[in-house]
Every structure is written in C-alpha cells, then in structure tokens.
C-alpha cells in the first residue's frame, strides 16, 4: 500500500501539484465504557482505517478521504480536482515553511496496551468506582474509561516518511445530587497526568478511590452551601479550572489560523493581531506560557505533526509579553508576509487532524504555564485578603474573539483574611481576557503544577475533536467579578 501511495504522489507531481501528502491509517481503534448508576450503559468499541490526501495546486488546497482504498487513483484525482477548483479563488497563494525531509518513527510511551486488557478487568474497575460513588446525597454517578490507539503513516512529496503509533487512556468520575430545592449540582474527577507513560498502567486505582470519596464529600458540601456572592474578589484557580482558563483564553486565542481569520466562519477569531507579537502585555510579568509538545505523558505530545514537522517546546508568553503562537507550515508564511516582518521562524509543529478523513489544522499541543515562586496553595490562600478558590469546569462561554469569558465552576471556597471560610454553590466568574491575565498576582510553585488532559477540544469545519494537555499551576487573579 505504501508504494502505491508513493506512486500516486509522484503522479500528482506530474500534474503540477506543488505539494502532496497522504496520511494512511492502517488502523485506529477506540474503546469506550461508561457505567451510570450501576448500569453499564456503554460498552463500545470501534475500528477504522483509511487514507486522507492533501494536494496543493496553484496555491490552493484540495483534500479527499475514503475508507475504500480499492481505487487510489480516483481518491488522489478527487483531491487534485478539489484543489483545481479552489485555485479559482485564491487571495494569498499557500506557501509552506521550509522543513527537512524526515524518515522517523514515534511511539507514545505505553506500558500496558489498554486494548490487551480483558474487558472484564475494565468493567471491574468501573464497578468498583461505581460502588465507591454510591453514597448518600448522590443521585447520579458516572464512571468512564476511554481508550484510543492508532497507527498513522505519513508520506509527502518532499521525501518525508513518518510512522506514528499513539495510545491514549482517559478516564473520569462524576457525581451529581439535588439540593433541597431540587437544583442539581455535580463534581468531577479527572486524574492529573503523573508518571511518564500513557497506557492502562496510568489508571491508579488508589488515586481514583481517594478522589471518589473526595468528590462525593465536596458535592454534598455544595448541596447545603449558600449561593456564591455577586461581588468582586480575588479568584484562586485550582488546576481543575485553571486548565480551562488557559485553554480558552491563551490556547485558542493564539492559534495562528484564528489570528489570520481562517476560523471566522464558525469558531471565531482572536483579539490578537500580528502587530501584537513582541509588544502586547498579555499578562502580568508572573505569566510565562508555552506550547510544549514534548511532555512524555500527555496527549498533546505526538512526535511529529501532520505536516511532518517535529514536536517542539515554544514560548508563547514570556514574563507577560506575547512572543509566540500555535503554528503550522502554511500560516507562518502567510503571517510573516502579511506583517512584512519575520515574526515566526518556521512551523511550530502543531498541525494535526483528528482522523484520516479530516484535514490537518493548527491545534493546541500542551499549552502550559510555568510554575511560579509564590509558594503552595496554602501560601497563596494565606496571602489573600478577600478571595474565592474555584475548581471544576461546569460551564464555559467565550467571546468570538476570545476577548471576554464567563465560566461556571463546580465548587467555590470563600477566603477571607487569609483563611478558607465556607463553601458556596453556583460559583461563577467572568472577565475580559487581557485585563484578567494582567491581574495575575500569584503563581503557585512546582508543588501546585499538574498536567490536565483535554480529550474533547473542538475546532474547524468539518469539526474535529482533538486530545491535548495543559500543565498548569494554581494561580490567583485580583478584582474579578464572581457570582453572575
């Protein structure tokens, strides 16, 4: 099959295609199990294989994909024809940043292949967790496991040939209950990414058990808590919500295709302009953020992106100043040309597609915030006069240019005069992105830094779901509106 694909790529070159690549998925398999109130509602597996072809012709892209590989010629011709028509409406002919031709292999670190673990063991795990969650006050309890494993073979017309074998394991626990007025509240646990591998071994039963008890306890505290006050306070974001703040107002805002207007039809743009790089005080000097696709244990690390560019660790925000973006080969060329200056030195290696039948676009890798020097969570609380600790993502809504946001959290703990006073329910906060990040007044040290996974980041049309991570510390922001 590989030789046939290479022959088709050569044939496209003879038709004057300036670039061609193909991603062949010999297989991608998934396994999802979900237990809801003791019922194994989902025991689902899936398997798919196919080929996605990208052709660049006269400065325009064409893409075609199929699971039926019996007529490769037709599949490549379709991609070429799509490019040919797209070339009738070109404003900035696509150019690709330079890269080396690479022959390589990447395998995500995996101790125990989750697809070789017997189903009964997986069900037993869920049953054990379900029993632990089945406590007074809990009306709904959900435990789930989600496994992915895929082999991707990338070949392009520039001589690259890269094989990737990626395994991922995701899991979570969730409980909900009703307060005396019949209002529903929930609490969730998603494990941090500890260790160096991403296989079945990353499911730590004792950690899950501890956290099952914790989320039940905390949810019951919320059920009898007072309403969150509607006022301005410092917000202390734990990793369970800090990941989302980072994801929505740094990660998505700094995708270069968004900045250049390529997502305006749907997901939106970004308040960031090309003039802002090197100048914009995005946050306080305590803020250093990076796109790091080299963490071994995170789904935001993949070896090589779907342009065939090696994974990298790049600064996005350096001590508060915007310095970088989430970039692929196409967008950096257009950005530099549009800005009439060299903002980006080559692709940042972030172009990824969710499946063989989707086209690669700029996606977050691991969008991390460096640990700071403001101590532990206890230290940060002790130095807070009037604040609230927030955790858990209950709802999120962001402006179309990522310029403002409103987040609901699962739990809040009020802090007064350096001490935690009480739990509140319906804890929300909102803000304007740049003002908010510039109010960053404390960044926790390495003891507070966790790698939080995201298994459902959506972007693009046709829509694509992507997996990634966020390494984040506990952070405090001042003068934030809460309770709306």
């Amino acid at each position: 099959m590989l030789n046939q694909i290479k022959q088709q790529i050569e044939r496209m070159k003879t038709r004057s295609a300036s670039y061609v690549d193909a991603r062949w998925y010999p297989y991608e398999e998934a396994n999802y199990l979900m237990m809801w109130n003791g019922n194994l509602k989902n025991t689902a597996s899936s398997r798919e294989s196919g080929l996605g072809v990208r052709v660049l012709y006269n400065g325009a892209w064409g893409f075609s994909a199929s699971s039926d590989l019996s007529d490769l010629g037709a599949l490549f011709d379709k991609a070429f024809d799509n490019a040919r028509v797209a070339a009738e409406r070109v404003t900035f002919p696509v150019r690709l940043a330079e890269k080396d031709a690479i022959t390589a292999r990447f395998e995500s670190p995996c101790g125990l292949n989750p697809f070789e673990v017997p189903l009964v063991d997986k069900v037993a795990f869920l049953k054990e967790m379900d029993e632990k969650l089945n406590q007074p006050g809990v009306s709904q309890r959900i435990s789930d496991l989600y496994f992915m494993r895929k082999q991707i073979i990338f070949v392009d017309s520039e001589g690259s040939e890269i094989e990737k074998l990626i395994t991922e394991v995701f899991s979570s626990l969730r409980v909900s209950g009703l307060d005396s007025k019949g209002e529903m509240f929930e609490r969730t646990y998603r494990p941090d990414r500890s260790g160096e591998t991403r296989g079945w071994e990353s499911i730590n039963r004792s950690l899950f058990s501890e956290n099952a008890a914790r989320i039940v306890k905390e949810m019951n505290e919320v059920l009898v808590a007072e309403e969150c006050p509607k006022e301005d306070r410092s917000v202390i974001l734990l990793p369970g919500i800090m990941f989302l703040q980072t994801h929505e107002t740094i990660g998505h805002a700094l995708e270069l295709d968004r900045i250049l207007g390529y997502e305006l039809a749907f997901a939106g743009g970004s308040f960031v302009t090309l003039d802002d790089f090197g100048k914009l005080q995005y946050g306080s000097p305590r803020l250093t953020a990076r796109a790091d696709a080299t963490l071994p244990n995170s789904p935001g690390s993949f070896g090589y992106d779907d342009d065939g560019v090696p994974a990298q660790n790049n600064l996005l925000i350096d001590r508060g100043v915007l310095v970088g973006a989430i970039t692929g080969r196409q967008m950096v060329e257009e950005a530099n040309a549009t800005a009439h200056r060299q903002i980006f030195n080559g692709s940042g290696g972030t172009n990824r597609a969710t499946a063989f039948y989707r086209v690669p676009i700029e996606r977050m890798t691991n969008i991390n915030i460096d640990p700071g020097s403001d101590g532990s969570l206890e230290d940060i609380v002790a130095s807070t006069e009037k604040g609230i600790i927030l955790d858990g993502d209950r709802s999120w809504s962001i402006g179309s240019n990522r310029e403002q946001f409103h987040f609901g959290t699962e739990i809040g703990w009020l802090v007064d005069q350096g001490k935690v006073t009480r739990v509140v329910k319906n804890s929300t906060y909102k803000g304007a992105t740049v003002k908010f990040w510039n109010s960053l007044s404390a960044v926790g040290d390495a003891s507070t830094w966790k790698v939080h996974f995201v298994d459902n980041c959506g972007k693009g049309q046709p829509n694509q779901i992507m997996q990634l991570g966020h390494g984040i510390p506990v952070c405090r922001f001042d003068n934030v509106r809460i309770g709306e």
Partner: protein
C-alpha cells in the same frame, strides 16, 4: 445502491443468526463535501465518503456495541465486527432493566427528503453560488468567509428479531456566508439551509449581507451601557436556545436524571408565554425528518408546548426501558422542532428595522458559544455576534460592540416574551462532529423579549 445496502444487512443478519447472536445493525453512509472560505479565498475543499456500521449485540440484559468504518465490499470485515460484538457482550455486565430489541413489523423506506439534483451539485456550482452571494461586497478590508457544506446521508437498519429493514436517505446543504472586516474585526453573516437544490438562492444571502454591511459601514459603533434592554433575537439565536431546551428541557431521561429544568409536576402547567407553541413535526421535510424512529415507531407531530403549557416529555427507547415508561418515537438522530409563528409582521431584517418602535431595541441575531450555567434554572450564557444592531427609538441605527447575556430560558420564552414574527425561517443546525446528521429547526424569523439584562459589554469590536 439501496438494494446492495439492504442485501448486505440481510446477509449480516443471517450470519448473526447462524452464530446464535442477537444483534441490531445500524448502517450510516455519508457522501460529504465542504467548501470553506476564508480571507476571500477557498481555504479548504474536501470530500469524504464514509460508511459506518454499528453493531449492537445483546445477551439477556447485557449489551455491547462495535462500530467500524468500512465499505460494502468488505463483508468479511463486517462479519468479524459481528463476531467481536457478540464476544464482547458475553463479558459485559447486565443492565438493571431489560433492553428492548425492536421488532420491525414491516420494511420501511423514506427517500422523500432526497434530491438528486442537490446530490449532484458540482464544485463549480458551489463556487458560483458564493461568488453571487458576495458579489460586489468584498473589499481589500472586507473579506469573505463561510462554508458550503452538502452531502447525501443514508441510514439503514436491521436486527435479528425480524427480516424487515428501515432505510432513510436525505440530501442537505448548509450555507454560511460571513463578511468580516480584517482591521476593525466586525463581522456579519447570512445563512441558508437547503433540502433540495431549488432551495438554494444566493440572492437572498446577498441581500441580507448587503443590508448588514451597509449598517456596519455607515453607522457609528458604540459600547452599550450595562443594564436592561428589549431584545429582538434573530432566527439563529432562537434556534440555538431551543436546541439547548431540547437538551435540558423536555427529554424524559434527562429529567429523570436531574439535568432538566422541567419536572413531572410541570406537565399540564403553564411554563412559558401563551405565545409559545413548540412541536416535533416530522412532516416538515425541511428538517430532514425521521418518519419512523430507530425502534420502528411511526412518528407524527408531537406537541411539546401548547400556548406555553407543557404537554409531554420525549422518551427514547432506552430511557423508556430504564425508567419503565412508554417510548414516544424519539430514538432518532435528531428531532424536527418547529416553533410556531406569532403575529408580528416582520419577514426580513429590513422590515424589522423599518418597524415603528416605542423604545430602543437591541437586535441579536446569533449567540456565540452559548453554554448552560445552571440547568435546573435553565440559565444560559452567550455573547452576541454576527451583526447585532441597536435600533434606536428615533429610527436611527447604532452598531453595538458585542455584549453578553446570562439569562434563564424560563424568562426568555416566558413572561418577558413580547412577540414572535409572523414569518418563519429554516435554521440549519447540522454539526459535522462525527457522522453526518443533517438537522434543521423551523422558527419565527424574529422574537422580541423585553427587559433582559446585558451583563458584559465589549469596549471595542
């Protein structure tokens, strides 16, 4: 092709029976195309032809499923999938209730929402449509974005309880055209939904874009003061809010699990304004309807709210099994929601702007990134986008920077609802996450809601 699909399903059924298995088979085929525009260029032009087969195996109260992307020539691969599902189910855990395996009493096929001309639409025709929709409106700073998404969607079913089959085929197109100012960052949009080729009319899209562009280019922008406003929502915003209500409102399963703002006590009670009449109406072909559900139940117009009174919950087969009630024909990939018109004459944005008004009115056509803040209280939040206007009492128009509302659907569709327009529009709500599922709602073109609070107001575009 239809005969080949149904024969393949029949062969797989025979194989499962020979193996002693109890299975349901769900076949999904999409021939999808999406032309995407950005910065006045075609940024992406894609085709995907995908066949998915979902096999659900049963053993007593145990259930397990296996899905594969395949093609019709791969019968052996599909049989392997059956083997895997039938093996998996042996190791599953019994449900606390017996899951129903439907018995199709007769074979059923519905291709009434399929249009050969739309299925055969060419790349050139799509490009021509967009060229006409944006003719003369683009400038060096005003760039065209959007999508032309179209496809043919086929669903077929069989199971081991009966040799009968169900077969559904639809064609659909979803058009979104956006004109965005590259420097000022404002953007306006117009949309169109098509079930057949003759539904496509770029002139309608052009008129709406041209009107909004004129408003945005010739009227001063302004940051709105926080406070309460009378708001007219456009069709997209109305449809977005109804889609959330579909999720956290009248679904019986969600209600039983505590995720709904409606309770059983609400049945027969006044929940919304007496102007609010909501129905799931599978006779409306514009919604790409399912006239039978996946359990084989006939679907007919199903009243959800009549004059604001809550009529009934919807029950999928699985929820009905779990909570020991009767299914209502709602084991479907999407409903066909229709919100009845009111009596306010206003068919187009031009007509809305021309209406005499007793006070300032904020027009919000679209709510960006809406989410649920509190499902029990039906509180949602979202930001305006794509062409909001402040229609001043004196007849002038101001372009507002985007604002956020955080409100309860109980208020929006309840006592604060002032009027619904007398003309309807089809809003295409299809999502391209996962398998193609063409979905549309029919809603009034406009809805006025009085005295809603703006909780955030941008200081610029």
């Amino acid at each position: 092709m239809k005969a080949r699909i149904l024969q393949t399903l029949s062969d797989l059924r025979t194989y499962a029976l020979q193996k002693g298995g109890e299975v349901t088979l769900y076949y999904h085929e999409e021939d999808s195309a999406l032309m995407r525009f950005a910065n006045s260029a075609i940024s992406l032009n894609t085709n995907e032809h995908l066949i998915r087969l979902e096999i659900t195996a049963y053993a007593g109260q145990k259930r397990a499923s296996y899905e594969l992307i395949t093609d019709l020539s791969q019968l052996d691969e599909m049989k392997q999938g059956l083997d895997i599902a039938m093996e998996m189910v042996q190791h599953a855990q019994p449900l606390s209730y017996p899951p129903t395996i439907p018995v199709f009493a007769e074979s059923f096929a519905d291709e009434s929402a399929s249009d050969a001309a739309l299925a055969a639409l060419t790349n050139e025709e799509k490009l021509q449509y967009f060229n006409r929709a944006a003719a003369g409106l683009e400038t060096d700073e005003l760039k065209l974005s959007g999508i032309f998404s179209c496809g043919v969607n086929t669903v077929a079913q069989i199971n081991t309880r009966s040799p009968h089959t169900q077969y559904f085929q639809t064609t659909d197109a979803q058009v979104t055209a956006v004109l965005a100012h590259s420097r000022l960052k404002w953007e306006v949009t117009a949309e169109q939904s098509a079930q057949k080729k003759s539904d496509l009319d770029p002139a309608v899209v052009w008129r709406e874009l041209a009107f909004l562009v004129d408003c945005y280019q010739h009227n001063a922008p302004q940051q709105l003061a926080l406070g309460n406003y009378d708001i007219v929502f456009g069709a997209t915003a109305i449809a977005q809010m109804l889609s959330f209500m579909n999720w956290i409102g009248f679904s019986g399963g969600m209600m039983k699990r505590g995720f709904s703002f409606l309770k059983e006590d609400n049945l027969g009670q006044q929940v919304f304004s007496d102007q609010f009449n909501l129905c799931d109406d599978p006779t409306r072909i514009e919604t790409f309807p399912f006239k039978r559900d996946f359990s084989g139940l006939r679907r007919a117009p199903f009243t959800l709210f009549a004059q604001g009174v809550f009529a009934q919950f919807t029950w999928s087969q699985d929820d009905a099994d779990e909570f020991q009630t009767a299914p209502t024909g709602h084991s479907v990939a999407h409903k066909s929601l229709v919100l009845a018109n009111g009596d306010q004459p206003a068919a187009s944005l031009e007509e809305l702007v021309a209406l005499p008004r007793d006070r300032d009115i904020l027009y919000i056509p679209f709510l960006h990134y809406m989410n649920i803040v509190n499902p029990s209280k039906a509180i949602i939040t979202g930001s305006s986008r794509f062409g909001a206007l402040l229609l001043k009492q004196d007849g002038s128009v101001v372009v507002p920077y985007n604002v956020r509302i955080t409100q309860s659907l109980l208020d929006i569709f309840g006592a604060k609802l002032a009027w619904l327009s007398s003309s309807a529009t089809v809003h295409n709500a299809s999502s391209s996450y996962g398998a193609r599922n063409p979905t549309a709602l029919i809603v009034p073109a406009f809805m006025r809601v009085n005295n809603l609070e703006i909780s955030h107001s941008n200081a610029s575009y």
